[in-house]
């Protein structure tokens, strides 16, 4: 007889042998004892946790010659026939192959006949989720009120595909994933019986890889034993399953800490040559990083199951990396693991990911960053007078306001108006605005500036081209765009620094670029840009502007209208509430 794999050889034959599903087996046993059996059962759960097995045991328990019993004898002809799958009263149907309505009609026909030699007629329909809709519906009536001798047992891995009308007619049992320890226990029993020597850590590896499925773990054990014979070591298992050994992760961690890129490439090369799967390497690496993080956070080693030999190194690494760096690394690795599955060149991805880890500069913790900002704020507190407060201060610091402006204010030509703060505040943003720039100067240099911006950033340059240079005011350059170009304005403001640098280069003066989306007669909903900083100064300021600029103002008639409304208080509100202004 040909070789029988463990999963088949060790298929449980009584309820007590079913591992890790006590909530199901105990319930079924009690039901049998108290003679309260339902006429339809639905077993659901992940692959390889014992659904079909339990179904068969239940069938035997019902039909055993010595039954109905909770412990089928497995010796009588009925039990034997069920085990061999040729009982005429227990029909095991492959729902995936016999999924049509015709098959179900035949099944319904056959339910009418009483069982040939046992008490019940049991229909085990495996992979029941594959039945067609029509087939399911054809079953409904029979399922609700079957003849007294009939028991249906459905088994499926995908309960979500089974219609609710079927679900409500069945007693449902959800099979759970099996705990690793229980799997290890079961594998140990198998190994002892077959006289296989195997290291505990190897069993742990298998259990982990099987992800709660008994069949998976038994297949893996089979695979391992067929490779190693009767003596199995952990290294063999890791090698065979393409699992990466802890040493390798420790080594990677080491190389990352030392920022040794040569070493990293060498490791990646080794991984490739040994035929380790890059995806599972990353998965393992993530687990390792996770373990280190947990160790760092909790300080306890309880979660490092089966890794007792590496506690020292784990602790070292936990000390070497900061929490935030570990979290970032986990992110990088997780991203890469997702990408690598579909990658054409996994080796390249692996190398790149590992190098990224090694090159990652240590993060500054957010809290430190915040304190830093706070301190900075304290130092520069004078420059941050809110507009409303400014209103209450009649005197303006002469150093902070440009000379001409100050001269005119002090000469009594203009009163202190809160809207002026707008201009002065922006000026404060440019501490080194010593020399004033004129419109002419900018105008002549403008084409060159645009070209230079284009060379650096093509898109920004072409956006800038659309704008109209309207005036220069206290080193602030106003560029007006058509209202429809709101997007351009937003992206230009993002790139403001770049353009200002270029202007500095070209004209030799530091300026503030101000891009405005010129709204035509008071729009119902202004551009967000316009709300954030009311772009257009009032007449007062324009009076201050150079003569050239005043001429230009004629062109910007529509813009002025928007500015005529005073938004300073509303602006302040919008700003502090991070909201949006909706005008009615």
């Amino acid at each position: 007889m040909s070789y029988l794999v463990f999963a088949r050889k060790w298929r449980p034959t009584v309820f007590s042998e079913v591992v890790g599903q006590e909530h199901v087996t105990v319930t079924l046993e009690n039901a049998i004892k108290s003679d309260r059996l339902a006429s339809a059962y639905l077993f659901s759960g992940p692959r390889g946790v014992g659904k079909t097995t339990t179904a068969r045991i239940l069938a035997k328990a019902l039909n055993c010659e010595k039954g109905p019993t909770t412990t089928p004898c497995n010796e009588c002809t009925v039990c034997k026939e069920i085990t061999q799958g040729n009982s005429i009263d227990v029909l095991e149907i492959d729902g995936a192959s016999n999924r049509g309505i015709d098959e179900v009609r035949n099944l319904r026909e056959s339910t009418r006949y009483t069982p040939a030699k046992s008490r019940n007629k049991v229909y085990i329909v495996d992979e029941v989720h594959m039945l067609t809709n029509e087939a399911f519906n054809a079953l409904l009536k029979t399922l609700e009120e079957p003849p007294p001798h009939v028991v249906f047992i459905f088994a499926t891995t995908e309960m979500n595909k089974v219609p609710a009308t079927i679900l409500s007619r069945c007693q449902r049992f959800d099979f759970k994933r099996i705990a690793n320890l229980q799997i290890v226990q079961q594998l140990k029993t198998i190994c002892e019986h077959d006289q296989i020597k195997i290291e505990d850590s190897a069993l742990h590896l298998i259990a982990k890889k099987a992800d709660g499925s008994m069949r998976d773990s038994e297949s893996l054990l089979d695979q391992v034993v067929s490779f190693c014979g009767t003596e199995v070591r952990e290294a063999d298992v890791a090698d065979l399953l393409g699992l990466v050994q802890q040493e390798l992760f420790i080594e990677i961690g080491e190389a990352v800490r030392e920022k040794d890129l040569g070493k990293i490439i060498e490791i990646a090369q080794r991984v490739y040559e040994h035929g380790l799967d890059a995806g599972s390497l990353l998965q393992g690496l993530n687990e390792y990083l996770n373990n280190v993080l947990k160790l760092k956070v909790t300080g306890a080693t309880g979660h490092l199951l089966g890794l007792e030999a590496f506690h020292g190194q784990y602790q070292q690494h936990a000390a070497a990396f900061s929490e935030i760096d570990l979290i970032r690394s986990i992110q990088v690795v997780a991203e890469a693991a997702a990408v690598i599955k579909r990658s054409m060149n996994p080796q390249l991805q692996l190398e790149n990911t590992l190098m990224r880890l090694a090159k990652m500069s240590p993060a500054v913790e957010l809290s430190k960053l915040l304190t830093g900002i706070e301190e900075l704020k304290k130092k520069t507190v004078v420059t941050e007078i809110p507009r409303t407060e400014l209103k209450l201060i009649p005197e303006i610091d002469p150093k902070r306001v440009s000379r001409s402006l100050f001269a005119r204010i002090s000469a009594g030509q203009i009163g202190t108006d809160d809207r002026k703060s707008n201009g002065s505040e922006e000026q404060l943003l440019m501490p080194d605005s010593t020399e004033k720039v004129t419109l002419d100067e900018i105008k002549t240099a403008w084409p060159k500036i645009v070209a230079a911006v284009k060379a650096k950033k093509f898109a920004t340059g072409s956006f800038l081209q659309e704008g109209q240079l309207t005036r220069v005011l206290d080193n602030r350059i106003d560029v007006v765009f058509k209202e429809s170009n709101g997007f351009n304005v937003a992206s230009l403001n993002d790139q403001r620094r770049l353009i200002q640098d270029i202007i500095l280069e070209m004209v030799g003066k530091r300026v503030l670029l101000h891009c405005i989306s010129g709204a035509l007669p008071a729009p119902t909903e202004p551009e967000p840009e316009a709300q954030a900083e009311p772009p257009i100064p009032d007449e007062l300021e324009s009076a201050l502007a150079d003569a050239d600029a005043e001429e230009k103002l004629v062109d910007m008639e529509p813009v002025k209208q928007v500015a005529a409304v005073d938004f300073s208080v509303a602006d302040k509100l919008v700003e502090s509430l991070d909201g949006e202004l909706i005008r009615s």
């Binding site: 007889m1 040909s2 070789y3 794999v5 999963a7 088949r8 992940p46 692959r47 390889g48 799958g85 492959d94 995936a96 192959s97 999924r99 495996d126 992979e127 989720h129 594959m130 891995t157 499925s213 069949r215 998976d216 297949s219 089979d222 695979q223 034993v225 067929s226 490779f227 190693c228 014979g229 065979l240 393409g242 890129l261 040569g262 490439i265 090369q269 490739y272 040559e273 035929g275 799967d277 990408v339 599955k341 579909r342 990658s343 054409m344 060149n345 080796q347 390249l348 991805q349 190398e351 790149n352 190098m355 990224r356 090159k359 650096k456 950033k457 093509f458 770049l498 640098d501």
Partner: protein, 371 residues
């Protein structure tokens, strides 16, 4: 007693594993071979069948390759061998025959002319009927399902029962290069064997016996094939050096104006078919990998690992010109491009868009650097 699978290139791991299964007489009834295209999965499946069915030598030892059974398996017409590959229902018998012929002639160059074909539930039902009968001469049966992920959901599900508990002396070998698309319930029923990219040296060995082409060309093909024998064979038939040259030109185009690079992209797309363009992009990836290595390692180390050894100077210059080039993003973009071409987006369009993105990476980063 040992089965060494000498015909298979590389894969020491898989060979050792199957050999031990024979030695320990623990041959599972279902294997799943997974690994990239052209790594020898189907070829190995046939060798495995020969080892089970060979009558020229003692059972379970090295197949003789000469007996009737071995020859019939190699010709894919053994009575106890079932060999499936995805094909459309409407496929003509002549076309199917052509596919089989390609497999018989050179297992690594197994042609797959129908990229989106499936294996249907009817095929599986047919198999189940057949497996209900006794096997021919009462001997082992081997069912090879290539590209098992191409089975429809219905077909896969209806295979489950028989895959878990097949009749005696029935062995399944499933192969797949997209094991992530297989149902977990299938994987759980099989012993999974991973097939790795074939090493350059092994590929060179494999190419040595191919007629025609001079040795330098073969060496180059082995290096560029990314561990796939099938790719290496295809490369030999293509104008490989030109394709590799185009990869470099693509990179150069990212430094040119958008219109120039668009014209270049369209020219490429006109000149070459889908597969060649994909190869160009794959070469580009290898080229970027070299750049990455040169950027990060010192010269000696880099030299030991790079693919395009004779282009190190060009690559070094590139690294100098775009020191902050975003490799991560670039690699991603190129892979997306390959996938899009696979999905029948116009290659010219894909290349143009890709070049534009790459240009951004080159320029944005260098601008930042300058600042």
């Amino acid at each position: 007693m040992a089965v060494t699978f000498d015909n298979i290139l590389g894969q020491p791991h898989a060979k050792a594993f199957l050999n031990r299964a024979f030695v320990h007489r623990r041959i599972s009834h279902a294997y799943l071979f997974v690994g990239a295209e052209g790594t020898g999965k189907a070829a190995m499946a046939l060798e495995f069948a020969k080892a089970l069915l060979c009558t020229g030598t003692e059972k379970g030892s090295q197949p003789c390759q000469q007996c009737v059974d071995c020859r019939h398996i190699a010709e894919l017409n053994h009575q106890n061998l079932v060999f499936w590959f995805p094909h459309p229902k409407s496929a003509k018998e002549a076309d199917l025959q052509a596919v089989r012929a390609s497999m018989i002639e050179q297992p690594y160059a197994f042609k797959k002319p129908w990229p989106n074909a499936t294996i249907s539930i009817d095929t599986v039902r047919g198999l189940k009927r057949e497996l209900g009968l006794k096997s021919h001469q009462g001997r082992s049966r081997v069912i090879v399902i290539t590209d098992a992920h191409c089975m429809t959901a219905e077909a896969t599900n209806s295979l489950l029962k028989i895959l878990e508990e097949p009749p005696e002396q029935t062995y399944f070998v499933l192969t797949s290069d997209r094991s992530d698309q297989l149902l977990p319930t299938v994987i759980s029923r099989c012993q999974m064997l991973r097939f790795n990219q074939i090493g350059v040296a092994d590929l060179e060995d494999g190419l040595r016996v191919i007629d025609g082409h001079d040795d330098t060309l073969k060496r180059q093909a082995a290096r560029l094939a990314n561990g796939s024998m099938r790719r290496a064979l295809e490369l030999l038939d293509e104008d490989m050096l030109a394709l590799n040259g185009h990869a470099v030109e693509l990179m150069r185009a990212t430094f040119k104006s958008p219109s120039q690079s668009a014209i270049f992209a369209l020219e490429l797309a006109q000149k070459y078919d889908k597969a060649s363009i994909q190869q160009i992009l794959e070469n580009l990836l290898l080229w970027l990998r070299d750049a990455l290595l040169i950027l990060n390692l010192d010269a000696e180390q880099a030299k030991a690992h790079v693919t395009n050894e004779n282009e190190m100077e060009t690559i070094t210059r590139f690294v100098e010109r775009a020191p902050l080039f975003d490799f991560q993003q670039a690699i991603r973009e190129i892979e997306i491009s390959v996938e899009m071409i696979n999905r029948y987006v116009q290659p010219g369009l894909v290349l143009t868009v890709m070049l534009n993105k790459l240009r951004q990476f080159v320029q944005a980063r260098s601008a930042q650097h300058a600042a």
